[in-house]
Amino acid sequence: MDTIRLIQQRLLNQVLHLTLKQPLPHLGKFASTNGRQPQAYIYDFDKEQPLYLINDSFSDTLAFYRYDDDLSPNGRLIIVGCEIISSLVLKSDSPINTKDDDLAEEYADEDLMTREEFDEALQSYETAHGMSSAEFYKKWRQGEMPDEIEFNMWAGLYEFSLEDGLVFKKSSSPQLEKSFFKLESVIERVGA
């Protein structure tokens, strides 16, 4: 398919993240056929046929998250952590028995801020408004700042910064190094 050019594969605690570089409105769905060794397809819902099959060698690195409010009789799953498009959905022919501990834990530090990023975020408010966070917070608590989302978020961030034991993502975790692959090198075409 011409529209599929590249996916990003990020091995993070053996979780595979797939990212298409552009929205594919009719190609955004996956189908999984086997819970133990899930085979994932990019599925063309217009033609009602699978287009690409994720290689088995990669299938066991896929992570699934079950939505209890979204289970069909056969099980209905969605990949999380993927930045593909909203319609990316996993469907299974049989219920997939994913251990609870295999779920969201794998994505624990995805999008989690590093200490540096957190400090930069706080500093961005200070720079934008020309005052320290402590000075701002005192005014905010006294009702001297406008009731705007900007200041609500600054206050929330600053209050959070005052708490002990915050968990930050390591800034140079080798697990987060990105690798890029041609889509065709990871998947193979199936069907007509």
Binding site: P23, Y65, Y67, D70, I78, V80, G81, C82, E83, I84, I85, S86, S87, L88, V89, D100, L103, A104, E105, Y107, A108, E110, D111, L112, M113, E117, F118, E120, A121, S124, Y125, T127, A128, H129, P146, D147, E148, I149, E150, N152, M153, W154, G156, L157, E159, F160, E163, G165, L166, V167, F168
Partner: protein
Amino acid sequence: MKNFSEYRSWLLGQIDKSGIIRDRSNICFSQKNRDEGLVSAPRESGFAKPGGLPEGLIFIDGAFLRFQERIIIKKDGSIERVFYSYHYQRPDGYFFRYDKLPRPHDNPIKEPQQHLHAVREEPRFPTHSTHLVELLDLIKYNFYR
């Protein structure tokens, strides 16, 4: 919900599933411990980029939802939102914002702890306790059908 990490994954999945978000790359998570954290979009000040609009989740029509929420996953699995601000704004400037204050205001008539701004900063209408996914449903129904 077992912990904040699971909440994170659930939330991202719900955002993706909504079908109306074009870009959620601005969302970020700060974690206090296993059960508590802060979710923001975007992470930086809305005025950090001169001339730029404050943005967060970007919708398919260019509208945005700037938000922050403080989450605690309780032992029974329920989600406590200590405070939140969800500011939805359309390209034409129309906006509404649901706020929950971290503490009750001295004057709960003027500023209910949970309130809604609609188009203007005042008045603040008292509301129920809401959350991001509920608002995405509301937004989708009203603006993206």
